[in-house]
Amino acid sequence: MARDIISLDDLTVNNVGVFKKINQVVLPTTYSEEWYKESLEADQIVKLAFYSELPVGAVKAKTINSSHKIVSYENMQQQQINSKIIPNAIYIESLAVLKAYRGLGIGKKLLQFIIEQSKTRFVHEILLHVHVDNTESIEWYEKQGFTKSQDIIKDYYKAQGLENPDAYILSLTV
């Protein structure tokens, strides 16, 4: 058989524009220039997904210690793990697939990558925030085995200008 039509590749300084573009059109939230700049550093958990050589999806995650309390989206984006604190989870900062390319297994492949990363980093939990109204995503994550937290984080997306700015936490134990 020929090469897999879906493939993952590294983010580079030359295609970071693609990463921005995908997040911009898919996600309701915005990310800062520094955040994209930082995503190019060597230790980052980040990948682009290609369908038939066309970039259509992207994921970025970081290690955290889940005992820290997070109150807002911006707070979460800025948070850097202190080197003295031992991480116990991987937090997905962004995961997006262009609308026209959903249902083809691209998101799954990106998630697979995150799961592999958690293994190499010896953490057993994958976490993320999701907007309460984003049922499509919530369903998708649940299908991948994530469980939804009982309590809602109030006003998590407030500064992002979303209507009904609350968030759920989804988690997967691996």
Binding site: I5, N15, G17, K21, I22, S52, L54, L98, A100
Partner: protein, 774 residues
């Protein structure tokens, strides 16, 4: 003192010194040589060899301006001294004045110089100035002196060939082949092969095709270039009417390269299938595409000859287009575009793609959707249906916003809507998706230029240029790398900018709300951008001079390497170099600016008398104040725009002022002159020449220019064009107003007009223009 003709006697001490100096000069120790020569001249100021050598030394030691005076003095004193002649030749070669160089080198040889390499140098100069008649002699004489090198034989053959003495050229090549036959080593095989093929091409050029074919066959073992062998053979067979045999050769060629469209065409010529029924031809290509399933031509070519109304066209077109859309071939549209000249075919293709989009797209990969939309956007753009094109491309971008190609088409559509700034922004959006894509980087740069955003453009292209230490951008590298496209776009953007400022200025002056500050600023901007535009254009002119001068090295190199066929090609290319499209663009831009400057020059002359010195002084005072602040801004500007390091005229101010002090029209004529030979069939040539001749009062030539222009524009059909009619009137009016014109000449021109445009005599001007109104 020089002695008898041609024999300088080294009798005196000066001569001994001179010889020493000559040695130093040869070993490039110019300063030491100069010292000796000057000592010589102190004792004997009329020692002409020393004077000449001083000139040569001056050239190399930074006194370029004074050098020629010494050369002229020396050759005036002793024109028959071969050493002086030789030195003059060397000097003129260094300043790339090949005409003079050839003259003096020839003189030196004629005056009995024992130095035979002069002949070789002379032959280079003669080729450079295309003096083929004398080239023959110098190559021949040098061969007689140095017959031991094949290169010299080849040189003679090339010279004879250039003089169209085919049989002599061939016999020269045959002779050296015979001499060298038993001594060829493996290393000589390439040269041997090339020379044999060169010989063959000359035989064919002389018209004796059957002899060419015969020779080709008998030389087969000498020829290493199998492709040329086959191509020559097939061509000869076809020319000799041996079609059956020719077709066998073309099939062999197709086996080597099944993507060469020319071979398919020639195969058809040799098979005589072009006049056969279409179904026969379709069958032929069907078979061929089975032989070469990966090649495009056998699938595509039937679409070119099957009429759009033919029943099988649609099926063939479907079989060609749809697999490409399914595979996501970006060039699908570009591939079928040549068929669009035929409207029926265009419509057929349109319905194929639309049907495909309607019926099949949902079941297919999402990428097929994008590529089909991409196709449709280009299709409607071709039809200039910009609204539909926009809809399709926007659908595509919404679907797959990460595909760079889509942004290129979107920008192109915007460009057609004259939204240059928006177009450049979209192109840049695409560029940011893939910064290492050189193609879109270039496109984005070009679109910035078109939007007159020169700084953004240069910054964009600088991603792919070398940026030297201390440079703020890659502008200098663009100049060094001879990036003509970028330079011409810069020049045109600067031109548009200064025209914009000009119209703002004249608006302001008309509105009577005189504002000196604003007016001054506008004036400065006009001056700045016009200077820069001229400077960019001139740089390209300079680059083309370099292209022309660069052939110099090949006059010897190609002979030694044994590549006479390519050498002849190079010479032919150089002979047409001024008709390169980009050069024509430069001449067009330059001539517009030159004519504008000429008009200003006229105005300035008229105003000179009125201009009171009082106003001038006032201006000066004001200027000083602002100067200090302006200086810093200026140096920042210069850093951005200078063409080379330590550019002496970074803003082109000197270029403009030099032009204004000169005969602008004559300078323009010098630029256009090469086109009289090379660009006979170019519109620009005669349009500009007409204007020049009219200004210069050369009315006979101006009429000639109109006639030539008419020949090109009407394409020998009896169309009466407005652009011709108005020019005829302009010529006649100018002639009538000119009081200085020679009566006889005026008569000749009038007669000429009447015989070329008989209606002019019979009708009134307005009636004439009514007829010439197409």
């Amino acid at each position: 003192m020089a002695g008898k003709k041609g024999t300088p006697i080294f009798s005196s001490r000066e001569d001994a010194n001179f010889r020493e100096a000559l040695k130093l000069f040869d070993s490039k120790q110019y300063k030491k040589a100069l010292k000796l020569v000057e000592a010589n001249l102190k004792k004997n100021s009329s020692h002409s060899e020393s004077i000449a050598l001083k000139g040569c030394c001056y050239y190399h030691t930074g006194n370029q301006d004074e050098a020629e005076a010494y050369i002229l003095k020396a050759v005036q004193k002793s024109p028959e001294n071969y050493l002086v002649d030789h030195l003059a030749g060397i000097y003129y070669r260094s300043v790339e004045n090949y005409e003079e160089a050839a003259k003096w080198l020839k003189q030196s040889n004629d005056n009995g110089s024992p130095n035979k390499p002069i002949l070789r140098d002379l032959s280079f100069m003669q080729t450079q100035i295309r003096d083929y008649k004398n080239l023959k002699d110098s190559r021949q004489q040098y061969l007689e002196n140095q017959p031991g090198f094949r290169a010299n034989w080849t040189g003679v053959a090339v010279a004879l060939h250039l003089n169209k003495e085919y049989s002599n050229a061939v016999s020269t090549l045959v002779k050296i082949e015979g001499i060298i036959k038993d001594y060829l080593t493996e290393a000589d095989r390439y040269e041997q092969s090339e020379c044999v093929l060169y010989k063959n091409s000359i035989i064919a050029e002389s018209g004796d095709i059957s002899k060419a074919l015969e020779t080709l066959e008998s030389d087969k073992d000498e020829i290493r270039d199998g492709l040329s062998f086959l191509e020559y053979k097939a061509k000869y067979l076809l020319m000799l009417g041996k079609n059956q045999e020719a077709s066998v050769e073309y099939r062999k060629l197709l086996q080597r390269n099944p993507d060469n469209v020319g071979y398919y065409n020639l195969l058809e010529v040799s098979l005589g299938s072009i006049s056969k029924p279409i179904d026969t031809r379709i069958k032929l290509y069907n078979r061929l595409s089975k032989f070469y399933p990966k090649s495009d031509p056998p699938k595509f070519l039937p679409l070119t000859f099957v009429p759009g109304s033919h029943e099988s066209f649609k099926d063939l077109a479907k079989a060609y287009i749809l697999p490409q859309l399914r595979r996501g071939v970006p060039a699908t549209f570009v591939n079928v575009k040549p068929l669009y000249k035929n409207h029926k075919k265009l419509k057929a293709i349109e319905s194929i793609v639309l049907e495909f989009f309607e019926n099949d797209i949902k079941q297919l990969d999402p990428t097929v959707f994008v590529w089909t939309k991409y196709f449709l956007a280009q299709h409607y753009l071709y039809l200039n249906d910009l609204k539909s094109a926009s809809t399709h491309i926007d659908d595509a971008i919404n679907h797959s916003p990460t595909l760079v190609e889509l942004y290129i088409i979107k920008a192109k559509i915007l460009k057609h809507q004259k939204e240059y700034i928006k177009a450049s922004e979209i192109m840049n959006e695409g560029r940011e998706l893939d910064l290492q894509d050189r193609f879109i980087n270039t496109k984005a740069t070009k679109y910035y230029f078109r939007a007159n955003k020169v700084d953004e453009a240069i910054e964009c292209i600088s991603l792919f240029t070398k940026i030297e230490d201390g440079s703020v951008n890659g502008n200098k590298d663009l100049h060094l790398m001879q990036a003509n496209w970028a330079l011409v776009e810069t020049a045109e953007a600067y031109t548009r900018l200064y025209h914009e400022y000009q119209s703002k200025l004249s608006e302001l002056k008309e509105s009577e709300e005189s504002n000196e500050e604003v007016e001054k600023e506008l004036g400065e901007n006009i001056e700045l951008y016009r200077g820069l535009a001229l400077k960019r254009y001139n740089w390209i002119i300079k680059i083309f001079k370099t292209y022309y001068n660069d052939q110099y090295d090949f006059h010897s190199y190609c002979m030694r390497r044994g590549t006479p066929r390519d050498y002849i090609e190079t010479l032919k290319w150089e002979d047409k170099i001024h008709t390169t499209p980009i050069y024509i663009r430069v001449l067009k831009g330059l001539s517009n600016i030159y004519f504008e400057l000429y008009n200003e020059q006229l105005l300035a002359k008229a105003e000179e008398e009125d201009d009171s010195s009082a106003t001038k002084k006032q201006k000066n005072k004001k200027q000083k104040k602002v100067k200090a602040q302006a200086n810093k801004k200026r140096s920042e500007l210069i850093a951005k725009v200078e063409a080379e390091k330590d550019d002496t005229d970074p803003l082109g101010q000197k270029v403009v002022s030099d032009l204004l002090d000169s005969d602008i029209i004559e300078s323009l004529f010098v630029l256009i002159k090469p086109l009289i030979d090379e660009g006979k069939d170019l519109r620009l040539t005669w349009e500009v020449l007409f204007k020049i001749y009219l200004i210069q009062g050369k009315y006979v030539l101006a009429l000639q220019a109109i006639k030539n222009l008419n020949r090109i524009l009407s394409r020998n059909e009896p169309i009466k064009l407005a652009s011709i009619g108005t020019r005829v009137i302009e010529l006649s009016d100018t002639l009538a107003k000119d009081n200085n014109v020679n009566v006889a000449i005026a008569k000749v021109v009038e007669k000429g007009i009447n015989s070329a445009f008989p209606e002019f005599e019979q009708l009134s001007k307005s009636e004439f223009l009514q007829i010439y109104s197409k």
